[in-house]
């Protein structure tokens, strides 16, 4: 039993930190730290910087452009990036489709799509959820009907994050209606420029345009864009979802958010409020525990154990902690959390600053991050998973 990192891992951390200090533009770090809106160009700029260093697709195999890191190195990298307020890596191409193609894609698909993910040619989005298929994803109704060498796709996807920027969408579609719902699903890659696709924005409760509806009307998709075997998409979907949950503990995000919280409360009436101090201490202890829980799962993964239901535990606890830090940050702002000035979070805003630093985004982040316990499989679904996989219920 040893909680310390090895000297090699410490050196690795130092290397990451040094590189971030040199290469993470302070303009971007400041935007992230102060919850400003990131533009498509901001995200692409950061992807390009990471790609130039070979760290963008850091869980891919070396032959496809990955750096050959283990679970611990990936954790250290994510931790340092979060602490440095780096923009998060947009996951849809790099972290979701990439692993799927590596495991299930044809050689042709790998050699065509993977380099385009790395160099930023293609921006991907995720076509999973539908209005009638959320937690019960297998009940999805978007159809793909074979017509010669094509599929004809009809239906509607929703909660499509950053779909407004996307060149391509990977979709779960129904290719068979017989048998169990899970058995008639396929995994299809669709060019967003294809006629019949319409993207409509969904404005979230904080006013942001982060997610979309994507409508498909007689959209013609080459059958060559099928990943894996027809009607085997559910296996791929589940594989992708376990990837979506890696790193979901958000330890780095919580650590930097907690540091930010502490620096903010020093200037408020909460500074000498023992009840508030106790609330902060509770979440700090939970986070310290969480860090070690996360390490234990990572160490098991590094030892060859499959990341299973433990990632569900990490998701539940990690998101509870992040949401509580958001709640405390908002509480620290008191009534000054009220002003709603979204444009103050745009680059180049020259209007008046209302309230202390943090007031502009405290409530927005609080409400926006309610999503954490809903997406990636709601926390209730995670409990179902743990109940089945760990407790044998």
């Amino acid at each position: 039993m040893n909680l310390d990192f090895t000297p090699e891992q410490d050196a690795f951390r130092a290397e990451i930190r040094e590189w971030l200090a040199q290469n993470l533009p302070s303009r971007l770090a400041d935007k992230v730290r102060t919850s400003k809106h990131l533009t498509k160009q901001d995200m692409e700029e950061w992807h390009a910087a990471l790609h130039s260093r070979g760290w963008l697709a850091n869980h891919w195999p070396v032959e496809h452009g990955g750096p050959g890191w283990g679970a611990v190195e990936k954790f250290i990298f994510e931790d340092e990036c979060a602490m440095a307020h780096a923009p998060r890596i947009v996951p849809f191409g790099v972290s979701m489709l990439g692993p799927v193609l590596l495991k299930f894609g044809s050689e042709q698909q790998k050699s065509h799509y993977l380099p385009r993910i790395l160099d930023g040619t293609d921006w991907w989005c995720q076509g999973y959820s539908e209005p009638g298929a959320g937690s019960d994803l297998a009940s999805l109704k978007t159809t793909a009907v074979k017509d010669g060498d094509d599929y004809i796709v009809n239906g509607q996807k929703t909660w499509t994050t950053l779909g407004q920027h996307a060149d391509w969408i990977f979709c779960l579609v129904r290719t068979a209606k017989e048998g169990k719902p899970q058995e008639g699903i396929s995994f299809l890659l669709i060019d967003m420029k294809t006629p019949g696709i319409e993207v409509r924005p969904i404005y979230l409760l904080d006013g942001d345009h982060e997610v979309n509806e994507v409508w498909f009307t007689d959209v013609r998709v080459p059958a060559a864009n099928l990943v894996g075997v027809e009607n085997s998409g559910w296996t791929i979907a589940k594989y992708l979802l376990t990837y979506e949950r890696t790193g979901i503990a958000g330890v780095g995000f919580s650590t930097s958010a907690l540091a930010e919280l502490k620096s903010v409360i020093a200037k408020t009436e909460k500074a000498d409020d023992p009840l508030f101090a106790a609330r902060v201490a509770r979440v700090e202890i939970a986070l310290e525990n969480m860090k070690t829980t996360n390490m234990r799962v990572l160490a098991a993964a590094a030892g060859g154990a499959a990341p299973g239901a433990e990632s569900s535990l990490l998701k539940i606890k990690g998101t509870e902690i992040r949401q509580e830090i958001n709640a405390l940050f908002m509480a620290a702002m008191g009534p000054q959390a009220q002003p709603f000035i979204p444009e103050a979070l745009d680059e180049g805003y020259n209007g008046p600053r209302i309230g202390p630093e943090g007031a502009a985004w405290a409530a927005k982040d609080y409400f926006n991050n309610r999503k954490l316990s809903i997406f990636g499989g709601s926390n209730e679904i995670q409990k179902n998973i743990v109940s089945k996989a760990m407790l044998g219920f």
Binding site: M1, N2, L3, D4, F5, T6, Q9, V72, P274, A277, A278, V280, A281, R282, E284, I285, A286, E288, N289, M290, K291, T292, T293, M295, R296, L298, A299, A300, G303, L313, I316, K317, E380, K383, N384, V386, S387, M390, L391, G392, F393
Partner: protein
């Protein structure tokens, strides 16, 4: 970073598991806990022979373990088996002389840590017991296994600061009683008792004790959780096992989630024991163990239903011990505020 136990620790754990399974199963434990003495000297001697007491001390201290991870490993198992013998007291031998410690390690001398006072659960700065001219005067409360003691390690104020003192058991006046969670304890009156000042700071012994109690609580939580999960699978109502009801499934998962967090807090406290951060992580562990302990004890009883309300059922006793650990050496609020201050 490595979370697997060393071979030595694995063997120690296996030995302890085997011993407790064979020799300390529940009816035996209940007999010992309800006996006039409230502990078993015979059992204590066997445990000493197995090396369980020696494993609590470093080689420099005459033992063969003594790291935070050793203490956590042993106390987790002792907790799981609801052992009532004076292991917490044995930890206090770290403050005694080598000759005394050698005797504690072989089981012939029983040391007991007498710390809490009426209104002072943990904070050494608030102690009322005082030493003047080598004589200790004061009252300690709810000291487990006090009647078993040959020697007390007592915290008291001297010249305005707290310190540890050795006092012979013959110089103490005991008001003994049975404890809610099994075994016996006592209030102890020291009246100008001859006291030898010890070098170890009170805070150091407290950190070790808090780690041990947290690990003991962890073992109890695992036992409560395992029994609850098993019960939910076997108990049938409305024609199905209780484990088919989602409301109950999610509550069991909440227990698991918080127990894993507690395990992490114990690992943290064990890792940092004896370092500058030791006190902070020990406070965090005791806080976590108290909060989770209360949750797990309550949920174990609730999810079992009536059966866990009976004296006959072992989980009832595990739940009581788990709950009482939350009360002693500072509760969750106390340790939360210590965490803030440290």
């Amino acid at each position: 970073m490595d979370f697997s136990p060393t071979d030595d620790r694995r063997m120690l754990g296996d030995t302890l598991d085997r011993f407790l399974a064979e020799r300390y199963y529940h009816p035996t434990r209940m007999k010992i806990a309800g006996s006039d003495a409230g502990w078993s000297r015979e059992m204590w001697t066997q445990m000493a022979e197995l090396g369980l007491i020696g494993a609590l001390f470093t080689e420099d201290q005459g033992g063969f373990g003594g790291a935070g991870a050793d203490i956590a490993l042993i106390f987790e198992r002792l907790g799981r088996a609801l052992v009532v013998e004076p292991f917490i007291g044995a930890l206090a031998a770290a403050a005694l002389t080598q000759d005394q410690r050698d005797e504690v390690i072989v089981g012939t001398l029983v040391s007991i840590f007498a710390h809490s006072e009426a209104g002072v659960s943990v904070d050494p700065a608030r102690l009322n017991a005082t030493v003047t001219d080598g004589k200790l005067t004061g009252t300690k409360v709810a000291v487990a296994n006090a009647e078993a003691a040959d020697i007390f390690v007592v915290s008291a104020m001297q010249d305005g600061t707290s310190a540890l003192f050795a006092v012979a058991a013959t110089d103490a006046q005991l008001t003994p009683y049975p404890l809610m969670d099994g075994g016996r304890g006592a209030d102890i009156r020291f009246d100008n008792a001859a006291a030898t000042r010890l070098d170890m700071p009170v805070a150091d012994l407290l950190d070790t004790t808090l780690l041990a109690l947290s690990a003991e609580a962890l073992g109890l939580m695992e036992r409560c959780k395992d029994a609850t999960v098993e019960y939910l699978k076997t108990r049938r109502q409305f024609g199905v096992p209780l484990s088919k009801f989602q409301a109950l499934q999610h509550r069991a998962v909440d227990m698991v989630t918080e127990i894993e967090q507690t395990r992490s807090s114990v690992i943290n406290a064990g890792h940092h024991l004896g370092t500058a951060k030791g006190a902070k992580y020990a406070a965090a562990a005791k806080y976590t163990a108290a909060v989770t302990g209360k949750l797990v004890a309550q949920e174990a009883i609730q999810l079992h239903g009536g059966i866990a309300m009976t004296w006959e059922y072992d989980i009832a006793h595990a739940a009581k011990r788990l709950t009482m650990i939350g009360q002693i050496m500072g509760d969750e609020d106390t340790h939360l505020m210590r965490f803030v201050a440290l």
